[in-house]
């Protein structure tokens, strides 16, 4: 089976400016969302307690809400259903430091008249732990971006590194914006998802860039836009196939992976779409706008080749003993 066969070169860069305004709009909206609605930090970062309760029959959610709201210790706690009718989750900002039982015993006592139930999960995070995690998460992200810039500058050229990081920030911002939009609980798995997007976005960009690097050497036109158009067209088949397969894998995670992993897979779904889009419509035009000169690059490559050849010649001469 073949879908992309003998594809004519598509003029991606011709519309780059129009598409860029879409990207800028999305990023702006995301930033506004992040500042106005804000991220809904889950207990991993904000501290607090989550208690997941499963009833044998349908959960009497109204009754539970009533009881919980009357308990001064659970002031401001929310009760929501979780996955199915029989399961509920109680969220509170309180965090009991007692080793002996804390929330589990309290909840068992508090809900004892609401029917038969099982406490399936209690997650508690003290506020200090959350702060440390957030710092570490940010630190990890910064360090990996720095590492990647260094590696890409070394393997490609600094403009490639900058362009890929611009695309990266674009993707992560939009993914976080969507987290703010849908008020998804930001917990450790979400952090993992954001970091995966980071990896995926780079992966995708690097593969497109690799083709562009290839194209700079082989394509006749000295215009960067032509080189990009032709290279991107050539990777289009791979880009589509990979994004689709990844998208489907993540979609199955989202649909069948269970409630706990829902936020994680949702973030990834957004990331896969945005990551694929940004490799073509963000990273590549930025590379063009950074005034990457094909001719200069070729001249440098030629000079490098020449130097190497001369070195070889010298070595050959040296080995023959003429020097």
């Amino acid at each position: 089976m073949e879908v992309f066969k003998g594809q004519k070169t598509i003029d991606f860069m011709g519309n780059a400016k129009k598409v860029a305004s879409l990207s800028i709009a999305l990023v702006t909206i995301s930033i506004i969302l992040l500042f106005t609605r804000g991220l809904n930090y889950g207990i991993d970062f904000a501290g607090g307690t989550i208690i997941q309760v499963k009833y044998e029959t349908t959960a009497p959610i109204e009754k539970v809400r009533d009881i919980v709201s009357q308990n001064p210790k659970y002031k401001g706690a929310t009760v929501t259903s979780f996955g199915s009718d029989s399961e509920i989750v109680i969220r509170t900002k309180q965090a009991s430091k007692s080793v002996k039982g804390g929330a589990k015993i309290e909840v068992r006592e508090m809900l004892k008249d609401t029917g038969k139930f099982e406490i399936r999960r209690v997650d508690m995070v003290g506020p200090a732990v959350g702060d440390e995690l957030r710092e570490k998460g940010l630190m990890a992200m910064l360090l990996s971006i720095i590492g990647i810039i260094i590696y890409l500058s070394f393997r490609f050229e600094w403009r490639f590194a900058i362009a890929s990081v611009v695309a990266l920030i674009h993707d992560v911002t939009i993914a976080m914006g969507s987290l703010a939009l849908f008020q998804i609980d930001v917990n450790l798995p979400i952090l993992a998802a954001i970091l995966t997007i980071l990896g995926y976005s780079l992966n995708d960009t690097v593969i497109v860039f690799d083709r562009i690097r290839d194209g700079i050497r082989t394509i006749k036109s000295p215009e960067m836009s032509d080189v990009i158009n032709e290279s991107v067209t050539k990777t289009l088949s791979r880009t589509t196939l990979t994004s689709l397969t990844t998208f489907f894998v993540v979609l199955t995670l989202y649909l069948f992976g269970g409630e706990i992993i829902n936020g994680f897979s949702f973030t990834l779904l957004v990331g896969v779409v945005v990551g694929t889009y940004s490799s073509i419509f963000v990273a590549s035009p930025v590379l063009m706008w950074l005034k990457f000169s094909v001719l200069e690059f070729r001249a440098r490559e030629a000079a490098k080749l020449k130097r190497e050849k001369e070195k070889e010649k010298m070595r050959a001469m040296y080995e023959q003993g003429t020097m």
Partner: protein
């Protein structure tokens, strides 16, 4: 042409390695059921708490308490030493971690100075006439705190091991935190027992009742008691009964050598029999000889269990705690006493407690997702690429086995995010093969020979896959270094997956192509590569 090339040989070995070492994990063979130890079983992946249920706690130690109890036990020791030398002193008090006392007889001063300089070298001693004050140095405070943390790790580990659950983890994390993971807890009652066992200070003290003022205890405030160097403690069974005790104990649990559950002769009630070491037995014997007719309280975690009258000197160092406890409680208290007291209480910084049924749900959900995702990718690859897709799938399967095998050898823990990491690696491994297959197709369309298309295709694809994988690997390694818990598991599986996929998807498939090369029919490119081309392939 010799078709059995080095690539396919390495790949075959890797595949075999993967299968062999992932077997223990896949069957989850249990060391307890296979008699003759774990050697027959091999190293395996442990399931994370989110997958098998259990209790995860990050504890912190209130190490300030360890410092103040260190001061207190120094007080005990001063009292013991001064009494031994028959020095008369008064007003032995502890306030704000400073011990003060007054010597009454001037002639005793040289003896006191000698005792203090010999027995309390690490302490800053100030003398003002007949008054002495002792204070811990900063180094001693720091080492006491550190010691309290290390001791808490050992003590909690001992207790959990004695409790008899499979594979509890107790480890120091960072400077002052303790990570406790107890998998496989079946019921809430068990969980509560384990929590109590961890939390129990098991701080045993023998304290003398201040008989001179005991009658007034009900009207006395805590502050007033402190003025006399006393402390008010309550009875464990009856909260209203109060005892006025000398704050500095006669001896404490550090002099205990053994604790066992026994049953009373008369009432068959569970009791705890414990044995003191030589020094403890001597102090205890001396004290009881001196205090006939007075009361002595057995205090555990600041609650009075019994306070019998001393009828005669008690030698041999055998003491009992009686009280109203169930056999289960007695059993747990005995464990706690045997494993030693916590020098300082612990508190929870964060915890995760996952019921076994939820763990099972999590496993089922992620396995379903994994299988559906995997199957749809496998089927798609075959439909789209023909035999080339089959070859990619072989690499994919090998990749999965390799990940499992390496994780087993590391005895890594598989968590829910770890599962997600595997799913993503499947995606990346497929991506490598998509890139390679696309490149080969391109070259075939240009009319190159099959051999050239394959070799050139791998060459062209290599830099892209290499650079993409390395950048992701950089991110994963940084994450592993900086992440905690679930993030670590996630980045570990990704890192292993990337390395494995370079071996299987790049080297392995290349080897298979070279091996199969003589069989590839240039007239059946649709079957082999899933393409139709109008150009004649050489």
């Amino acid at each position: 042409m010799n078709t059995l090339n080095y690539r396919v040989v390495i790949f075959a070995f890797a595949f075999l390695f993967g299968v062999v070492f992932s077997i223990p994990s896949l069957t989850q063979c249990d060391e307890n059921t296979t008699k003759g130890g774990g050697s027959s079983c091999g190293k395996k992946i442990t399931l994370g708490l989110d997958l098998q249920g259990g209790l995860h706690m990050l504890l912190s130690v209130k190490s300030d308490v360890a410092v103040s109890s260190k001061v207190k036990s120094m007080g005990t020791s001063i009292k013991y030493n001064l009494d031994k030398e028959e020095i008369i002193f008064d007003a032995l008090k502890i306030d704000d971690n400073i011990i003060t006392f007054e010597v009454l007889d001037k002639d005793d001063l040289p003896k006191v100075v000698k005792i203090l300089s010999e027995e309390f070298k690490e302490v800053a001693v100030k003398q003002n006439g007949m008054n002495f004050s002792l204070e811990l140095t900063d180094e001693l405070i720091a080492s006491t705190k550190q010691n309290a943390i290390n001791q808490a790790v050992d003590t909690i580990r001992n207790r959990l091991n004695m409790f008899g659950l499979a594979e509890p983890t107790v480890a120091k994390q960072g400077k002052d935190k303790i990570l406790v993971e107890v998998p496989g807890i079946k019921t809430e009652a068990d969980e509560n027992r384990i929590r109590k066992l961890i939390a129990k200070s098991a701080h045993l003290q023998m304290m003398a009742v201040d008989e001179a003022r005991a009658a007034r205890v009900d009207m006395m405030s805590d502050g007033e008691a402190r003025k006399y160097g006393d402390v008010i403690l309550r009875d464990v069974a009856d909260n209203r009964t109060k005892y006025l005790l000398y704050a500095i104990p006669i001896l404490d649990g550090s002099m205990l050598t053994d604790a066992k559950v026994g049953y009373g002769k008369n009432n068959n009630q569970p009791q705890i029999n414990f044995t003191l070491n030589g020094q403890g037995a001597k102090i205890f014997g001396d004290f009881t000889a001196k205090s006939v007719g007075k009361r002595m309280a057995v205090v555990l975690d600041n609650q009075v269990y019994t306070a019998p009258n001393i009828v005669q000197r008690i030698g041999g160092g055998h003491v009992q705690i009686t009280g109203a406890f169930t056999p289960q409680e007695a059993h747990d208290i005995a464990i706690a006493l045997r494993s030693g007291a916590l020098l300082a209480p612990v508190q929870v910084e964060s915890q995760r407690s996952i019921g076994p049924s939820l763990g099972e749900d999590n496993i089922n959900a992620s396995i379903i997702a994994l299988v559906i995702g995997f199957l749809s990718v496998v089927v798609f690859m075959v439909l789209y690429y023909g035999m080339a897709g089959v070859i990619s799938n072989v690499a994919l399967v090998a990749n999965l086995f390799l990940i499992l095998a390496v994780m087993s050898l590391f005895q890594a823990t598989l968590t829910l995010p770890g599962m997600a990491g595997i799913v993503l690696t499947v995606g990346m491994s497929v991506d490598a093969n998509v890139i390679i297959n696309e490149r080969i197709r391109e070259l075939l369309h240009e009319g190159n020979s099959i051999t050239k298309s394959i070799e050139q295709g791998y060459n062209n694809a290599f830099t892209a896959i290499w650079d993409a994988n390395i950048t992701t690997l950089i991110a994963a390694v940084v994450l592993f270094a900086y992440g905690t818990g679930p993030i670590k598991g996630f980045s570990l599986t990704i890192s292993i997956g990337i390395l494995a996929s370079m071996l299987t998807a790049i080297l392995g498939t290349h080897g298979i192509y070279q091996w199969l090369l003589p069989k590839i029919d240039k007239k059946r490119l649709g079957f082999w590569f899933g393409i139709k081309t109008d150009k004649e392939v050489k």
